[in-house]
């Protein structure tokens, strides 16, 4: 029954310094928060992050000095708290290289990899400085002669996805918005799941069309109830604004960041590492 279930610590150890990671969820919703906290505790370095719209996850890894590069369309705390302070500081000081994307070009790069292609044509970008700044090249379509931007493939080492339900083998169901998680799973070399609940495989047999990620793509499954906190996760909990605010207060210094990580440790390790089917 153990299947691919492992502890949060064991799963985080699969990630090597310098890896390219796609982080699932969007902004403060269904983010792999417990997993990124564990990466910070393990003092990973030189990570390269891919995401359409990031917030706590990208900022916390920047605060921990774990990030060398980001490929994102947006990183911030929206109208709740504004700019992402540690991401901003990392980019402004030069320790984090922000590869400027639109959300659509992140998707295009992931699509290229998912389709097994080196690059992907993308619409839009006309009149924007993003293409020149990032180095997206134009080619002529061989049939119409129309100019089109090509986005190079983005092939993450892992897609890190916090899902609603998974079984021990890695079949995963997502409730609510799936964002780019499914595409990330297809674009990445492998997938690490953290899951709110571990279900019996029969749960997935009932509605196979609802299985967003099939087990054969998945390397590791972590039982992580509350694993998206302080973000929200449908249908179990909403964004905890006070806890996001507490993070932002702590992210400015190494000691306060350590205290933040410590304060979450018990909850992050609350999942059952050796799970039987009835543990939910």
């Amino acid at each position: 029954m153990a299947g691919k279930i492992m502890s949060l610590t064991e799963a985080a150890a699969l990630v090597q310094d310098g890896d390219l990671l796609a982080l699932g969820g969007n902004a403060l919703t269904r983010i792999p928060a417990a997993f990124v906290r564990e990466l910070a505790r393990r003092r990973r370095e030189g990570l390269r992050l891919v995401k359409t719209a990031g917030a706590y996850d990208v900022d916390l890894l920047c605060a921990a000095g774990a990030v060398a590069q980001t490929q994102t369309g947006y990183v911030g705390f929206e109208n709740l708290f504004g700019l992402a302070p540690s991401y901003r500081r990392g980019v402004e000081e030069g320790s984090v290289r922000a590869v400027e994307h639109a959300c659509s070009t992140v998707i295009a790069g992931l699509r290229a990899s998912a389709y097994g292609l080196p690059s992907q044509p993308v619409a839009g970008l006309d009149g924007s400085d993003v293409a020149a700044h990032t180095g997206f090249r134009q080619v002529k379509d061989p049939y119409t002669g129309e100019s089109v931007y090509m986005v190079p493939g983005i092939r993450p080492r892992f897609a890190i996805l916090h899902v609603t339900y998974a079984d021990a083998e890695g079949n995963a169901r997502i409730e609510g918005g799936a964002f780019e998680d499914v595409l990330m799973s297809r674009a990445a070399e492998s997938v690490i799941l953290t899951a709110e609940r571990i279900e019996e495989t029969a749960f997935f047999v009932e509605k196979p069309d609802r299985t967003a990620v099939p087990a054969f793509m998945v390397q590791a499954v972590v039982h992580a109830p509350g694993g998206a906190r302080p973000g929200g996760c449908h249908p179990f909990y909403d964004i905890d604004e006070d806890a996001v605010g507490a993070y932002l207060d702590s992210a400015s210094g190494a000691e306060s960041l350590r205290a933040h990580l410590d304060s979450w440790e018990e909850r992050d390790y609350a999942g059952s590492a050796a799970v039987s089917g009835d543990v939910v």
Binding site: G73, N79, G127
Partner: protein, 250 residues
């Protein structure tokens, strides 16, 4: 939290938030496919409001993918799960980009930290992009949607010379801008340049010029923006009773 929002905001901020939400909603045409993205509390309120006033047949699209949601409350994060509640179908962000690329997205609302005289916007860098003074969040989908959506309306809750320069420090996105809504005025784009269409009540032309970093030209043709009507105010309050729109001003 929400009550504190309303009570903590000054009269001036509440008036500006109400005006901007109502003015944004007026750009929505009945039957249109309308999209807002991340960090978009004002357009979210405007879209929910418009559905209950002049645009009952709009199709509401958003990043979580809920088509025509009926959120139990308006969330502070505009990609939160409430935007899936009561939705009739599921249409992802990727599909919304593709829809826009096919020329079928009707109207999108997009914010900018800088909006320049050409109607181009910047959400990327202040200062030299190679060594920025400020790293902004990034433009999310704007570089794709501005040139591909049929119409876009931009908004910015701060109207000062830095926010409205002759040229952006970096052009994150450029394209089919119909209008720009600010706390002071509404711009329209005419022959590739922003022109003041209407000035909000109580704002003098001199104050507007002083607060804008590019030449506004002749303001004689600009009329006064019609104030929100009682019916619009009531619809806005019903759509956003908690005052989530105020978050854009804090």
């Amino acid at each position: 939290m929400s009550t504190a929002l309303r009570e903590g905001a000054s009269e001036e901020v509440r008036a500006a938030a109400d005006r901007m939400a109502v003015f944004l909603s007026r750009f929505i045409r009945d039957g249109e496919l309308v999209f807002h993205g991340v960090a978009s509390a004002l357009p979210m309120a405007a879209m929910v409001m418009a559905r209950n006033t002049h645009a009952p047949n709009l199709t509401y699209l958003n990043i979580p993918g809920g088509v025509d949601p009926r959120p139990s409350f308006l969330p502070g994060s505009t990609v939160a799960r409430q935007l899936m509640e009561g939705a009739l179908s599921y249409f992802t962000l990727t599909e919304i980009f593709d829809l826009s690329a096919r020329g079928k997205l009707g109207l999108a609302f997009l914010g900018g930290a800088q909006i320049d005289a050409q109607g181009d916007m910047n959400l990327s860098f202040i200062g030299d992009p190679a060594a920025p003074n400020v790293r902004l969040p990034g433009g999310a989908g704007s570089a794709h949607i501005l040139p591909t959506a049929r119409r876009t309306v931009l908004w910015r809750t701060v109207h000062d010379a830095k926010s409205f320069p002759e040229r952006c420090d970096f052009v994150t996105a450029s394209g089919n801008v119909d209008a720009v809504v600010t706390p002071l005025c509404i711009f329209e784009k005419v022959d590739g340049r922003l022109r003041v269409k209407t000035i909000h009540e109580g704002v003098t032309p001199d104050a507007l010029r002083a607060a804008t970093g590019f030449d506004l030209g002749d303001l004689e043709r600009a009329s006064t923006t019609p104030e929100p009507t009682d019916a619009e105010r009531a619809a806005l309050t019903a759509a956003d009773p908690e005052g989530v729109r105020l978050r854009e001003f804090i």
